[in-house]
């Protein structure tokens, strides 16, 4: 008889499903099956126990080969690198728990680091837009229970947040949405005919990069003003129709993703999407929700918010917190050669930053804390594998709607492996020793 662990939280995407069940071997050591998860979530749990997994820190040698070192040696190296640097970048913080983020924040403060999380290449545009115009939003359960107009703008949950539509946005039979997907009109705005778009009642296949124009046109249509015949490749008839659909709903919601945050216009695209939502609230009820990517990128912005007052792009090098995206943001710092050390935890800039930035990381003293071998670990001088948060150690994470959920420990990590929080604590202690000595 396998042992079943219930109410398991999936530590992959911002959907943060908390209804997984994991079957363990009798001794509780091996993960046999994962139920309720999507393919990605299941893989994360199953692959965590791969036989070829790294279990000890490795340091890169002159000749490019790797040599195993102890966690203490790795912590010492990391601490020295951070203390010696004038302007180190401590990046990532999205695939880890809030407690680890908290210890990281203390290290960043001690050494005077620039600190940034994956929002910087994900929903950073959104965070800036919210600072400009605010954000009328709601928890995902509000949407499940009430929303009858659902827009996916520049996002593709069928691939990026696979259980989003079934758990929250399209299929649930909620309190006031008893007919499930039949209670809802689904609108998708995307330049590709995505698998999400294929399910929609209406797909606006706009010209890539013209989101601002189309959102602006929808505002015009909501107010009943005149439009040109075609905007962003969409006919005015269709735009008026969509505006009517939204206005006539009882509760409209706009989910949006990288299609808008990554395209030219950036935060301005989000500004106007939020303004559409604001306008709709004069006619009906409306909310807007960013489809946050990593399972705890949201938490990282929260922890820094209450400790420093800003959700990303923190510059602590002057001893107090400064915030200035474009100046204190990772990619700008890297490309402008302002940094002299890079520390990465819970993210893979090697795979997800433009290559120009990755080249800079490769040239600098660098440490990568990650359970996996990644392009980042490959270009770093030290790679510290740690236990998987949400699989081998619990900890708090914030869902895309900011709802905090406690992830679970399902199995023990491999013998002798540290969690990232434990490793960070070693680094913090060492940093304090070094600074005390100085």
């Amino acid at each position: 008889m396998a042992k079943i662990v219930t109410d398991v939280v999936c530590p992959f995407c911002g959907t943060l499903c908390d209804d997984l069940e994991v079957a363990l071997s009798d001794d509780g050591k091996e993960i046999l099956e994962v139920y309720n998860a999507c393919a990605i979530g299941a893989t994360k749990f199953l692959h965590s126990q791969a036989s070829d997994r790294l279990t000890r820190p490795q340091k890169k040698q002159e000749d490019g080969s790797w040599k195993e070192v102890t966690y203490d040696e790795a912590a010492d190296y990391t601490a020295k690198m951070l203390v010696d640097a004038k302007k180190p970048l401590m990046y990532g913080w999205s695939s880890t728990s809030c407690s680890a983020q908290g210890v990281g924040a203390e290290i960043g403060e001690e050494v005077g680091a620039c600190m940034d999380n994956t929002a910087t290449v994900c929903h950073g545009s959104t965070l800036i837009a919210v600072q400009d115009v605010g954000v009328p939003s709601a928890t995902l359960g509000e949407i499940a229970n009430r929303a009858d107009r659902v827009v996916f703008w520049g996002c593709n949950p069928a691939h990026a947040h696979p259980r989003h539509m079934s758990r929250y946005s399209i299929f649930p039979r909620g309190f006031f949405t008893g007919k499930g997907s039949k209670s809802r009109q689904m609108i998708v705005v995307d330049p590709r005919n995505t698998d999400t778009a294929k399910m929609a009642d209406v797909h606006l296949q706009l010209e890539q990069g013209h989101d601002y124009e189309l959102l602006s046109a929808i505002r015009v249509a909501i107010r009943g003003e005149k439009l040109p015949d075609v905007v962003a490749g969409i006919s005015k008839e269709q735009i008026y129709e969509v505006a009517d659909t939204l206005k006539s709903g009882r509760f409209a919601v706009i989910f949006f993703g990288m299609g808008v945050t990554h395209s030219l216009g950036k935060n301005h695209n989000i500004d106007i999407a939020i303004s559409v939502t604001r306008d709709l609230n004069d006619y009906t009820k409306a909310a807007i929700v960013p489809m946050r990517g990593h399972y705890n990128v949201t938490g990282s912005g929260q922890v820094w918010g209450w400790q420093f007052g800003f959700p990303f792009c923190l510059d602590l090098t002057r001893g107090f917190a400064r915030y200035n995206p474009g100046d204190s943001s990772s990619n700008d710092l890297l490309v402008r050669d302002e940094l002299d050390a890079v520390f990465v935890l819970g993210s893979d800039p090697g795979a997800h930053f433009p290559v120009r930035s990755v080249k800079k990381i490769a040239q600098l003293p660098s440490v990568c804390i990650d359970p996996h071998i990644t392009p980042t670990s490959a270009v770093s001088k030290m790679h510290v594998p740690v236990a998987f948060v949400g699989v081998e150690v619990g900890g708090c994470a914030y869902r895309m709607d900011n709802v905090p959920i406690e992830t679970k420990k399902v199995v023990e990590p491999p013998e002798g492996m540290l969690t990232d929080e434990e490793f960070l604590q070693l680094v913090l202690n060492r940093v304090r020793e070094l600074k005390g000595a100085a």
Partner: protein, 130 residues
Amino acid sequence: MAAIQINLISGRTIQQGVAMESGKEKPAYRDACGILELDDAEFKRLGIFKNTNVRVSSEFGTVVVKAIGATQGPHPGLGWIPMGPWANALVDPNTYSTGMPTFKGTPVTVDVAENETVLDAIALITEECL
């Protein structure tokens, strides 16, 4: 040989997510992300069959990937490389003071590179950076 200009975008796919969690050093990750999805019309313009390796170049870099038929198309004028080091070899790193590189909407040139190989993620990043 023909070369075509298209507008490149990237993003997540399920296969990318699964492959990423199975190990980015593995061939499956390359197979999931070292690809370029094109409409049939673009294959005609290029004069090649699907599943042919191509070289994609932008103002910011060059990378070899395998051209495959669009799985979420048609998307006229657009090319799609899933999020990962292959796409990021090409994208516009300019943030225009927002902190956010311009990941979507990079003008690229595609030409045939039948005899070149698609590198795995670690080899690719090593070659580019080290």
